[in-house]
Amino acid sequence: MLAFAARRLAQIVPMLLLVTVAVFLAIQIAPYDVVDSITTPQMSAETIAMWRDRYGLDDPIAVQYLRWLGQVLQGDLGYSLASRHSIAADLAQRLPNTVLLVLPAYVTALLLAIGLGLLAAARHQKLSDRLIDAANAFGLAMPPFWFALLLIYLFGYYLNWFPIIGMHAVGDRGLGDLLRHLVMPYLVLTAAFYPELARYVRSSAITQLGEDYVTVQRAFGATEPEIFRRHVSRNVLLPVVTQIGVALPMLVTGAVITETIFSWPGVGSYFLQAARAMDYPVILAVLLLSATLVMLGNLLADILYVVVDPRVRLGQVAP
């Protein structure tokens, strides 16, 4: 397994290079650049040319890319062109904020999905199944930003229970205050993550229920709860465990819209702002981080698969 992991890790490097080249080219194709987004009619042509020169935007694309790559290889993510602030420092401040929001929401959604998904499968075609399935479909169809606005109206404006903006009141770094700010974005994200997971659990449980081993268990006189607890749930949870690996990048970019709506100072709102301004070092840094997590997440998923299912072997041709 170590050899497998090492080989996969080695593959990450060329893939990351490809990703960054593709993103870099896409940014170059855009009809304007970061200097365009900060200039004003009052700036002389000379001043604008000076900024463009200072940022190296007049250099050939390859030169710009290699200069960026050289920096990154030395562990320097560089500076935002728009704010001239250190990207590493900004990320170090914002990443924990995003994790703080996404992680509890994802875990909640996952637990809910497993519970309700199995319940729905056990009550297949009965009322509770139909209700859960309908709720899942509704959840999938509901845009998170719209749900967020509903929550803001209900809990923020109408009931006035929770603050709407940000993660802290000014000057208050207390836990209570943080939790009050966390409630609404947490609910939005949970609702955003839950339906897909629940449908996944439900459908795979239903599939399992049709398997021969379930029939055999029934023939042996096992009760439905026993069948679920001892057999079906294990087989359903195997693939669910691997979902966790795939979800890894969400810790960085899982809440772009939610963060923006609630002014949550995380990576998502930071990324969106940079994308609007064509602030390429920021865009690349966030995507680099996110792409790395995608690949590590996939690797993790593969390894978890082996861990939880002894029938799977890594790197070998099936006999």
């Binding site: 004003t40 604008i48 000014v170 930071y270």
Partner: protein, 535 residues
């Protein structure tokens, strides 16, 4: 190479051109520090005993692009600068000059120098006295082109220089006579302390260290990037003590969220749009529409529509009032504009061709030009709902005169990139807006041949000559006459159809008083936040 500049459609210029006023002053005590503490979920925080009541919270749309007064240029950067620092003087929106740090400002008769005497006894927020050296230091560094914001301090290819005559007197020398420079020299440059920043060699960065020491009414005490900036009253301020001890600029990028926060009282003030106002009726919020001196317009790329009669025909086919109402909803939220200068500008004239709707005349002009059935492409910012409304109405009105307009909604920044291609642009017409300030010379950037923001690719030697005459004419009445001719000339050339000065609308909680005294001004929101009070 033609440089490209771009500007987002409206916000644009916020910059400098606006005269402001200031408030400033000094004081000692803490210098602001940038806290970068993570919101670690530790229990119980040292809540800085914030009694929400003593704080004015203002929702702003994003982080300031720079907190460095030498080079900041965006709306929120300038707002912060105006809270913490002071200029020598401000120009009011009616063109009168109000002294801030300056006690007197005396231009010489030959227009080549200006002597500024400072008020005695002004202190920085750290308790040190303000001197002429600080002023010289600030102007000298701002005039360094590498610092990125030197344009206003250069005339032609030479900078304006500053010299300390004595402790409280500064003389500015102009390389050549300039009416614009004479009226601008003392405004819009916020003075920074030499004793704090004297050792800084590069002022092109977005932040100074320490973050801010100024003579303005407030001190910056905390900056949480992406969250808020917190200010406390500066006890050394030279003006009346601030009426509200704390000010918070809270960063809220989503308009719906900001509106809801204004409704609930989580923020006290926010710039609202006309379509949000109905929702505020039930909340304890007053709305204050005011002019920023913006001009929203329909522009023509001249080389794409070379026949002036076709351009005039298009303008005669339009109904300005209807277009403005479609975009801005109610006459109380805009003033109709007819000229390149906003209606509130002291130099604005109404003695020009206004192109009141006349469809028959439009058809006659088209026939005369042999351009019946002409087809034009109108580019606009596709995500801007105001421009969507304007574009749709322009299309239908022009159709009545036999002009076919194809609409093309694109990214706002990309739009400017395209129209700067001039004759090669895919657009014949475009929608835009600018805020260029009070001095009419600033508008030469838009309409002089080859100027940096001449999106129209407009070129008329007569217009250029008038701009040159106006820039150096020191007699105000003469100057007005020159700019009146100039506005009439550009109107006749029909490359620019002014729509309106659409007003900025501040929604503000009724618990806040002193809004009239604090004065709403372009870009900086309030001339002096210190005049606000809590009722």
């Amino acid at each position: 190479m033609t440089t490209k500049f771009r500007r987002t459609v409206t916000a644009a210029g916020a910059l400098l051109a606006v005269p402001l006023l200031l408030a400033a002053c000094s004081q000692n005590t803490t210098t602001p520090t940038e806290t970068s503490a993570l919101p670690a979920p530790t229990t119980s925080a040292p809540a800085s005993a914030e009694t929400g009541g003593a704080t004015f919270t203002y929702a702003i749309s994003g982080d300031p692009s720079s907190l460095n007064p030498i080079n900041t240029g965006d709306r929120w950067g300038l707002t912060v600068t105006n809270l913490v620092y002071s200029p020598l003087a401000r120009v009011e929106t009616d063109g009168t000059m109000v002294n801030e740090l300056a006690e007197s400002i005396t231009p010489s008769d030959d227009g080549l120098s200006v002597v500024v005497k400072l008020k005695p006894g002004i202190l920085w927020s750290d308790g040190e006295p303000l001197t002429a050296d600080d002023v010289v230091f600030t102007y000298t560094n701002k005039a360094v082109k590498a610092n990125g914001n030197a344009d206003l301090l250069w005339i032609g290819d030479a900078p304006i220089t500053a010299t300390a005559v004595d402790d409280l007197t500064v003389r500015f020398d102009l390389p050549s006579p300039s009416a614009a420079a004479l009226s601008n020299i003392a405004v819009e440059t916020y003075i920074i302390p030499q004793h704090i920043y004297g050792s800084v060699t590069d002022f092109s960065g977005a932040e100074l260290d320490p973050l801010a020491v100024g003579t303005g009414p407030y001190k910056l005490v905390e900056y949480q990037r992406g969250e808020y900036l917190k200010f406390e009253a500066n006890e050394n301020y030279y003006g009346d003590p601030p009426g509200i001890p704390n000010i918070v600029l809270r960063i809220v990028s989503n308009a719906d969220t900001a509106k809801a926060a204004l409704q609930t009282g989580e923020v006290d003030a926010y710039f609202v749009t006309p379509n949000q106002i109905a929702d505020l009726a039930a909340a304890p919020v007053d709305v204050y529409p005011y002019a920023e001196g913006r001009v929203a317009y329909l522009g023509v790329v001249e080389p794409k529509v070379p026949d002036v009669r076709v351009r005039q025909a298009l303008f005669f086919s339009l109904n300005r009032t209807d277009i403005d109402l479609a975009a801005f909803l109610d006459p109380q939220y805009f003033q109709e504009a007819y000229s390149i200068l906003p209606p509130s500008n002291p130099y604005a004239t109404t003695d020009l061709e206004k192109y009141d709707q006349d469809v028959d005349k439009a058809k006659a002009l088209l026939a005369e030009a042999g351009a019946e059935g002409v087809k034009l492409v109108l580019g606009y910012a596709g995500n801007d709902t105001l421009q969507q409304a304007e574009a749709a109405l322009i299309q239908s009105q022009a159709a009545a005169a036999g002009i076919t307009i194809e609409l093309s909604g694109v990214d706002g920044t990309a739009l400017y990139d395209e129209i700067e291609k001039g004759a090669d642009s895919q657009f014949d017409l475009f929608l835009g807006g600018y805020i260029m300030g009070l001095d009419p010379d600033a508008y030469s950037l838009l309409f002089k041949t080859g100027a940096s923001a001449n999106y129209f690719s407009y070129s008329n030697p007569a217009t250029d000559t008038l701009f040159e005459q106006g820039a150096i004419e020191l007699d105000n009445a003469q100057r007005k006459a020159i700019y009146a001719d100039l506005q009439a000339q550009i109107a006749d050339d029909a490359v620019f159809y002014a729509l309106a000065d659409n007003l900025k609308i501040l929604g503000i909680n009724q618990r806040i008083g002193g809004v009239d005294q604090a004065r709403l001004i372009p870009i900086y929101t309030f001339e002096n936040f210190a005049k606000l009070t809590i009722k």
